[in-house]
Amino acid sequence: MAPEPLTATQDRGIDIIGALRNAVLTGLLAFVLFLPLIGFQTVTNMRGDLVLNTRWGLLFSIVAVIVGARFAYAVMLAPWLTRRKNRPLTLAPSPWRDFAGKWIVPFAIGFAIVYPFVVVGTVGFGGAVKWIDNFGIQILIYVMLGWGLNIVVGLAGLLDLGYVAFYAVGAYSYALLAKEFGLSFWILLPLAGILSSFWGILLGFPVLRLRGDYLAIVTLAFGEIIRLVLINWVDLTNGYAGISGIPRPTFFGIPFNANDDGFAAVFGLEFTPVYRTIFLYYLILALAFLTAFVTIRLRRLPVGRAWEALREDEIACRSLGINTTNTKLTAFATGAMFAGFAGSFFAARQGFISPDSFTFLESASIVAIVVLGGMGSQIGVAVAALVMVGGTELMRDLDFLKAIFGPTFDPTQYRMLLFGFAMVLIMVWRPRGLISTREPTVFLKERKTISADLVGQGHG
């Protein structure tokens, strides 16, 4: 009988004194840490002298926030977390969960399809471009890139930190070939994909023998090499200045302009730039669906199973007669092909590209989307792209923050900071990404989801 009341008091009783002591200690630590960082500020005055300003108000308010947060954590959050940890692991089957699991994907697809009309309906033609372009198209580009990289990182388990190189190859292929030879978007789209996958294979060869950190470093270098070539091969790429005046895609030959043979005139509509944006939106939506569809198909094909087997155990693969060289190269090539498609779409949408669009930060964002979403999970990657890209775009609009932090506050400057916070939080909460479980590709009786603990993360 003795242990029973003991656990009960532990559950119910909250150690206020301990929490207070902890909060004060944390506050002291924060004070010591932030005193030189925030408490003092060096300012150059009118005469050019460096003077030391103190910012006691800011310092103490930050310390107060930290003390309060630490206290609240100890009193409220920690007991809840303990209770959560102790509760039985089996989830009661709830009708809501089943319903959500079944309908969330069709609902998301349906929403993506009607999104432009919803936007036009709510904000009218005037404000629609911003919502469709900045949110819809921008997010979908990253969804597509995430799904493409997911093949390399999530399925084959090869960490590729230079993925943006293939995106750049696709974009420059479209820009240069369209400007020089006047080829149409629909010819250049597959061509950009082929060229990108060619570069994917080219990168694949030297890194076949590399694993883990070494693979990551070489792919990172590859991404930088492509960018530096784009900067320095001025004759071809026009260097930093970039390429402008890239032909825009047409609606099967009908351009989106205000002329008499333009889209609006032909269909008897009033001219507005929204039509082009809506067309581009559906174009990238179709490309993203293509990526998802092909990936789902590939997972059920021997090559997809071989990718996953390669991630699990390369030596076992070789013992089963699988040519691991070809398997890795096809993973690189397929992933690169989708980046090439996305790149040519990007060039066509922007009308202007420069090496600035293809920095390492882009690669890192795409890798972050894949990792946060859960390697191998398409739904997870889509959600992560939505949150990361949509979230950072939303921050441009947070004008009310200026009321709190003063008129000079620019929320977009803090994008990366919040990005980092979000990443740390998700990695603490779900170390293997939003959706970490694996769905088997085939089953005899029943499809059972496989826990992340068993699924390999690849060797690089």
């Binding site: 198909r297 094909l301 090559v303 071989a306 007669g321 088997p440 590709t441 005899l444």
Partner: protein, 302 residues
């Protein structure tokens, strides 16, 4: 295909050096079709090295490893094949392969030698069924038109996949995992993982099955089940098996032929009974010189 008792694998003068260490020294032996050939020896005798050479994971320093498909008559072509510098020769009555010239995946794909590993190498995050489908990769790859036709969803691939699933289902039943076919392989108990690895190797449709210590870590009951499984594979499928084993109950009960290695050198070769009573073998296992065997045996009470 091959008649039982004909030579299937011919290992000649196999030597493997790692720097100054000679792991296998001038080893020659033969494995016969439809027989279980056991390779035994104390720890570090070079057994696994021999396996790695046969399955292409190591390139031998010296030696010739010939494997035959079809009629035993194709062995005539061995010398011409060796001189030609090619990997294999195919004739109407069969084919001959020089394994030392082939990379690991081709040894399984073309010469059809399958293997298992001492420390189980399954794909833990994939289901039992998926593990067996990965083993049928090369056949399915052809059926899917090297992926291109498969992506377009041609019906011939669906048929090939169904056939592959049927073969996998048979093997799942044979190793007693029907109830767990949709569970991840990493969730299975140890003994079941061992059996699954053997089933996976068999799904590559091999002519020679190389098992590296299949009984390691099994309890006596599981080990008896394993004996039964291996005998079924030999009798029902006419499979030739090359076996590395420490568990003498397995070796003596099921092997048709035993080869004993010590420090990379063959010290005995023959029927299980003959090998069991061989002085050199006993000396190697007890770790003493030949002339001290009687003395030590008296001490330990053998």
């Amino acid at each position: 295909m091959a008649n039982a008792g004909d030579i299937l694998l011919r290992v000649e003068h196999l030597t493997m050096r790692f720097g100054g260490l000679v792991a296998v020294d001038d080893l020659s032996f033969e494995a016969r079709a439809g027989e279980i050939t056991a390779l035994i020896g104390p720890n570090g005798a070079g057994k696994t090295t021999v396996f790695n050479c046969i399955t292409g994971f190591y390139k031998p320093t010296e030696g010739r490893l010939g494997l035959r498909h079809g009629d035993a008559g194709v062995w005539d072509a061995l010398e011409t094949l060796t001189d030609s510098g090619r990997r294999s020769v195919t004739r109407d009555d069969g084919a001959l392969f020089l394994l030392e010239r082939m990379p690991d995946f081709l040894v399984t794909q073309q010469a059809r030698v399958a293997r298992t590993f001492q420390n189980i190498r399954l794909f833990p995050g994939m289901t039992v069924l998926e593990n067996l489908l990965v083993a049928q990769h090369n056949r399915l790859m052809l059926a899917s038109g090297y992926t291109l036709l498969g992506v377009l969803g041609v019906p011939s691939y669906a048929a090939a996949e169904r056939a592959a699933i049927d073969q996998a289902r048979d093997w799942i039943a044979r190793v007693g995992l029907t109830e767990r076919a949709d569970d991840p392989a990493g969730d299975l108990p140890y003994g079941a993982q061992r059996r699954l690895e053997i089933a996976r190797a068999m799904c590559t449709n091999p002519v020679l099955l190389c098992l590296d210590e299949p009984a390691a870590g099994l309890n006596p009951r599981e080990s008896a089940e394993l004996n039964e499984l291996l005998l079924t594979i030999r009798n029902d499928y006419g499979m030739s098996i090359l076996l590395i084993e420490h568990d003498m109950s397995v070796v003596m009960e099921i092997s048709d032929h035993v080869i004993v290695l010590d420090y990379g050198v063959k010290i005995a070769d023959g029927k299980p009974d003959a090998v069991r009573n061989d002085d050199k073998v006993i000396a190697a296992y007890l770790g003493v010189a030949d002339d001290e065997v009687a003395e030590v045996e008296a001490e330990v009470g053998l």
